[in-house]
Amino acid sequence: MSEEFEIAIVGSGPSGLSAAARAAQKEISHILLETTDHASDTIYKFQKRKFVMATPDVMPLRSDTSFAAGTREEILEKWDEEIEHQKVNISYNSEVTGISGEKGNFTLEVKGGRTIKANHVVLSIGMQGNLRKLDVDGDDWEYVQYQLDDPEEYEDETIIVVGAGDAAIENAIALAAQNRVALVNRKGEFARIKAGNLTLVTEAIDSGLIECYYNATTSRISPGEIVLKTPDGETTVPCDRIIARLGAMAPRRFVESCGIKFTSDEPSALPELSERYESSVPGLYVVGALAGYPLIKLAMNQGYEVVETISGNEISPADEPLLEEKFAALHGRGVNEVLKEIQENVPLLSHMSALQFREFMIDSAVHLAKPGDVIFKRNEYTNSVFSVVDGRVNVQINAEDDNELVELKNGSFFGEMGLIAGRRRTATVVAKTECFLVETPRRAMLKLISSVPGAKKVLDTAAIYRQIQTHLTPNIEKELLKEIVDTATIESVSAGEKLISEGDESDHMFIIRAGSMTVSKVIGGRSVILSYIPSGNYVGEMALLNNEPRSASVTATVASEVIKIDAVAFRELLGRENELKQVIEEKFQDRIVENLETEDRPEAGDIIDFLVGQGVGEASDVLLIDESLCVRCDNCEKACAETHGGISRLNREAGPTFENLHVPTSCRHCEHPHCMSDCPADAIHRAQDGEVFIDDKCIGCGNCVNNCPYGVIQLAYPPAKKPGLWSWLLFGSGPGPGQDKTNTTKVEGARSVAAKCDMCKDIEGGASCVSACPTGAAIRVNPEEFLSITNLAKSS
């Protein structure tokens, strides 16, 4: 004899619980089935006393179950209380092993032989039953684990925590109380975690409590040690225990056995769902983490919504007002209609689940452009990515000729090159017709790339084609490039890693799409740097043209990305395209001449080497001082302070010197700014002309100060009031021009905020350090000009 219900809810996590509470409230017959003997096992398994956050802050909670940020214990206790109080029909120790049937007549098999009949099923089983593994050699070592119940069980151990998600961070911080802990982060920043965790982990890393390996992946494990691949090469770290928190995957086999289809074959793919969370099986709904949304508050909202939907109430999602406001300019069209149009039209955005996409759109902006409107200009430094939902835009690909256009239709996207290389826009984009565009900021874009592999693939494929076309073959038809593009791959190179070794056989050429390289050659037994190559250029073509071994080595100055192009395909293209061959030959000749010139003055190579060592390899604009002209008057510092409210962002004397070239402590305006990588207030931006600046949203947390490898950011209190020139001159009031106005004491009510060079972006006439230099010693240079700087060595 089976039991019958209107709704059967599988899994008592936040979404399932919220759904059951809603059903109980509406007096709908329901059953909440839970495998374990307690509710909400995922939260239950959280670290003891874990502080659970209620993000995203902007989103309202809509549920009969209460939830606010608090400790694991507080939340679970409250929920248990509410389950009883609200008469939620929960059945513990009831693992569902199969779901079959159709809307109005589902049968759920429960372990132990119990069967349950239900008209509707809500699947809210989450993903924690199916954890992602390290999958490297040696991961069967007995001290490799994927869960951490109580951090206090461990004491005085060296523990490596792999992962950069919230779980990894929380484990690492808790373990660090009585262990030595190192984090292994695959990325250079913590892009996907909650703001609160970001602050905590940054503080812990800054204070030295936790060590962090950025851009590092696990290479292999042997008992007692882990080998990491880092941008500086492989390092071996001895450890007593490895805790890998790599997230979880959908329990696909079970879900598919219920008849539910997935969006793709990708391991990280999610079930195919309607906006109302209905799966490909009518009447069977999926909510919570399995639906693609792991945040508690959102999952709870979904639980509420799904029961409303089942009982026939059309309710709009809780974030609806936010999107309505965003889409207000679109002549009152419905939110769902707009969202659908965007996702249907733009393949790049189609890989996101409906929920991910809603969040993505909350971060993005929509624009309606008129024909002729300039979307962005060549050489601007903005780094948002645009998607064309409707209409056409023209890309002006030739700097000399505005009429040389490439047309992009609806469904395409542009602006990704600035995002990838961290450099200036390579083209101007103008609306051709009326356009409906979605503009996504860098942060949301990075999140999309890191969390949705399908989107990354779309972006990479298009980027390869565009980068090859822009940097190598501007005048070649798309079809002719097919073979080259198809065989091209994207590879990352760590700082200091050799991309090409002198003397090797050559079978590839490379386009540098992010980072920069130096070309060096062994001359007289010593490696001499011949040139510096910023991103947007290609290397390795010399040997291909001549079919000879590599004539020089190419080494990455910073963590870089290259497009690897197959020699055979490239030679074939050259065989067909005479004009291209000529262009490449010409550039090749230029390089030979350039290299010969540098060989004549090896000191130029030493200067490049020195500058690269000072981070100039990732700089977009750097202040240099020619010490043979510098009279040490510090007028540059004074000018900086005078034009920036009394606080100089420049320390002339600090910083290294090579021959007569001095690199003062001043912002390099990095291509991928380290300071930007975890600003919780999102206060650091790149202006149109490339200036990396901090706006007044700064909360003074100091993350950027610690993240800057060049020590050019400081926390400062607002300076003392500046008197007028004459009142200073005649009456001696206040600190005079160029005099130190730093407040050494805390001003009442003031708080310290981060101050750094903004390249005088708001000041007419450009950088005031340079304009105020009496002898012309201070100069600002960008990567393209480095070689000319080496002339300083010649003249001195």
Binding site: E627, L629, T643, T657, E764, S771, A772, P774, I789, L792
Partner: protein, 275 residues
């Protein structure tokens, strides 16, 4: 793309100043005064006006360089200041018609020459010393050097504990009484007279062979440390000497300029008053 103040904008102001000088000289040769060449002739008035305007404009640099930001290059101003300032030698001298006497007018001229001569030293200093500063410091900053000296002092004090008095008193004196800088003459000399660190170094050499065997090792370590400190002190003293040399001429140039402005104003008023 990279010009010093002497070659700024293709030596634009050198050319301008040369043109001013040449024009003045040619005019002076071609012009035949009724009486004799002096400040009172037509050409004398013209040259005087040009000279006075130049002086006021050149002085304005002091204000201009303190107005930061905006479309200007201070390097350009300095370049013009240097060359047009030099051209004053020709313009003002021709203005005098070589008539000098013990009066206010010649005082203004003399003050101007002092200002220009100090400025010429300034050009020399700006052209020569920056490279010497870099060469002397070998990439270290002054703070680095002072920190190193501080570290050596701390280490020396620790080593000196338990060593014979004759050794430890030398070290104590070296740590506590070594002075950097002092009077302007001391700074400009770049040397120290009777520097306790130099003394300690000289005396320690002898003491290494005369102290008890158990103290030889530490005394020798102190000798090395003190020697290193003396080297660093030499670098620091040379550094502040060179910086002082780059700065000292301004202590003449600026006050005398103020005196010149007063004398020049008096000169102009008196000339018109006694017309």
């Amino acid at each position: 793309m990279h010009d010093g103040f002497l070659t700024y904008a293709n030596s634009r102001y050198l050319k301008l100043a040369a043109a001013v000088c040449l024009t003045s000289i040619v005019a002076y040769i071609l012009y035949e005064p009724v009486d004799e060449h002096n400040g009172g002739t037509v050409l004398g008035y013209i040259l005087g006006t040009v000279g006075a305007l130049l002086i006021f404009w050149l002085t304005w640099l002091g204000i201009r360089k303190r107005k930061y930001g905006g479309h200007f290059r201070l390097t350009g101003w300095v370049s013009a200041h240097v060359y047009l300032g030099l051209s004053l030698i020709v313009v003002a001298t021709l203005h005098t018609g070589f008539q000098f006497d013990w009066n206010l007018h010649t005082l203004a001229y003399a003050l101007m020459i002092i200002v220009i001569v100090s400025g010429i030293f300034g050009i020399y200093a700006y052209a020569r010393y920056p490279k010497l500063v870099s060469a002397n410091r070998r990439g270290a900053s002054l703070d680095d050097l002072l920190t190193q000296i501080g570290d050596i002092d701390r280490e020396s004090r620790q080593l000196a504990v338990g060593l014979p008095d004759e050794v430890s008193s030398l070290i104590l004196k070296s740590c506590e009484e070594t002075a950097i800088g002092g009077s302007i003459f001391r700074i400009l000399s770049g040397k120290a007279v009777n520097c306790p660190s130099d003394n300690a170094f000289a005396k320690l050499r002898g003491l290494v062979s005369s102290v008890d065997q158990e103290h030889v090792l530490n005394t020798r370590k102190l000798l090395v440390l003190t020697g290193k400190k003396c080297g660093l002190l030499g670098t620091v003293r040379r550094d502040i000497q060179l910086k002082a040399l780059m700065d000292i001429w301004l202590r003449v140039h600026v006050p005398v300029t103020v005196a010149l402005l007063i004398a020049l104003t008096a000169h102009i008023i008196s000339v018109f008053y006694y017309w």
